[in-house]
């Protein structure tokens, strides 16, 4: 029992040390120098990145959650099959390809990048919304109906709160993916921190590389963490689960 705990603690310690070592090494090597040398440049790219992510994610949430709700209504059960399969198929198209296609269609710049990110975020949210609502035990809905809940009350008081965990997981996945994919926006002239990452790769310049890659990674981790914290407030304690497999 205690040996197992020890092993876990050791691993945690090792990982923390490695992480610290990485940061010390990269910092000492001056790999973040660019951020200090060109703070405006950094801020400019960072803002671009954030704008892309926020805009595309909010649009995606605003579209896919209602759509998910719609297709789980009994009337649309048949459409649901179609939409979910299309969504699953869409999920196989790599983010890079969506970005490229958006560019050939909309030209270069911010717009195609946001559009591609938006498209790419739709699917996880839609899928999780549908799965979350569908997995609610039918007897709960039966109980609610039997107690005189009106359909919209069932939706807002029973279905959404109980599916919230799943929906939020979808949003988290989408936002995190989004932050990573936004780093590709450089390719189509969309800007963002991908600019420095690609410069770093192309010039084999670790300063550009890490000054771009590390902030993007931290941004993703931070977004994930923030959303988890928000989740803690928004989602009822009664429906939170620990480990989920899908």
């Amino acid at each position: 029992m205690n040996r197992k705990k020890l092993l876990a603690t050791l691993l945690k310690a090792l990982l923390s040390i490695l992480t610290v070592l990485f940061f010390v090494w990269s910092y000492r090597s001056g790999y973040y120098q660019l951020i200090f040398d060109d703070p405006e440049g950094f801020w400019f790219l960072f803002q671009q990145h954030l704008k892309m992510v926020l805009l595309s994610s909010s649009l995606a949430i605003a579209l896919s959650v209602p759509l998910g709700i719609l297709v789980t209504r009994p009337k649309f059960k048949k459409v649901q099959w179609l939409i979910m399969n299309t969504a699953n198929l869409g999920q196989t198209i790599p983010s890079l390809a969506i970005l490229a296609l958006a560019m050939t269609w909309m030209g270069i710049g911010f717009k195609p990048a946001v559009f591609a990110l938006f498209l790419y975020s739709l699917l996880p949210i839609l899928r999780n919304t549908v799965a979350g609502i569908d997995s609610i035990k039918p007897e709960l809905l039966d109980a609610a109906r039997g107690m005189g809940y009106k359909p919209y009350q069932i939706l807002f008081k029973i279905e959404l709160p109980n599916a919230a965990f799943s929906i939020f997981a979808g949003i988290r996945t989408a936002v995190v993916l989004n932050i990573g994919t936004a780093a590709l926006a450089y390719l189509v002239g969309g800007g963002g921190l991908g600019d420095w990452i690609f410069t770093g790769i192309m010039m084999r310049d670790n300063i550009y590389l890490l000054s771009g890659a590390v902030p993007v990674t931290l941004l993703a981790l931070f977004a994930d963490l923030t959303l988890r914290i928000i989740e803690g407030f928004v989602i009822s304690k009664g429906v939170r689960q620990s480990v989920e497999a899908d």
Binding site: K4, T181, R204, T217, A220
Partner: protein, 221 residues
């Protein structure tokens, strides 16, 4: 559409070469990822503390944007002269595969009905027999689902590996972008998507074949 078709016909060999490169990349990394992730996932079921740590770690890796991970690995792997190309790409894909594979293995084995495990132990199976005859077969559908998820994800991320010189179908997309030629972009996107869909289907069939008949009921639900 006609243009696209013509392009694909005219460049069959090229597309095929890139496809093979792509499959090599994804295939090798997934095989290695399974070899690491499944035993690790199984081991973790015996140590919950470690499981928590490892799953958290895998979770963190998943949040690292792929191009950033490629980027971070370049200076590190450059220390052994392997900063670009196949090696960093494979390592990144292995890392990304760990979460779905470890998590699904762990959860699947954990979720095997405790009564069944108890019965196996009570009839005198040793740990290995219990794993081989009872736990793994019953966990297989979920483990395979994790592998499938990893493969599909890696096919997508593999496209980005083209930027660190790992080749693959990402080159086609990148060339399409560079030439603002939607035909080439589409050819690349379609080739990757078809690959993902076909691989997904094959893995689905494989999963079905590997699933013990007695579990088919569960699979449907």
């Amino acid at each position: 559409m006609q243009e696209l078709w013509d392009y694909m016909i005219n460049n069959q060999t090229l597309i095929w070469t890139y496809t093979l490169e792509h499959m090599q990349l994804v295939g090798l990394s997934v095989v290695i990822a399974i070899a690491i992730g499944v035993p690790l996932g199984i081991y973790l079921t015996t140590n919950d503390y470690l499981a928590e740590t490892v799953l958290q770690m895998a979770n963190v890796i998943m949040t690292i944007p792929s191009i950033a991970l490629f980027g971070i690995m370049i200076p590190i792997l450059s220390l052994i002269d392997q900063g670009i190309g196949f090696v960093p790409a494979v390592i990144a894909l292995i890392l990304y595969s760990q979460l779905p594979i470890i998590r699904n293995t762990y959860v699947a084995i954990k979720n095997v009905d405790p009564h069944i495990k108890d019965a196996a132990k009570g009839m005198g199976m040793n740990t290995i027999q219990k794993l081989r005859k009872v736990e793994i077969p019953n966990a297989l559908p979920v483990i395979m689902a994790g592998v499938r998820q990893a493969v599909i994800m890696n096919i997508g991320i593999g496209a980005i590996a083209a930027f660190i010189g790992a080749g693959g179908l990402g080159v086609l997309i990148n060339q399409g972008i560079a030439r603002t030629n939607s035909t080439i972009v589409m050819a690349g996107a379609i080739a990757i998507s078809i690959m993902a869909i076909v691989v997904d289907m094959l893995l689905g069939l494989f999963q079905k074949k590997m699933t013990p008949k007695g579990l088919e009921e569960d699979l449907k639900s």
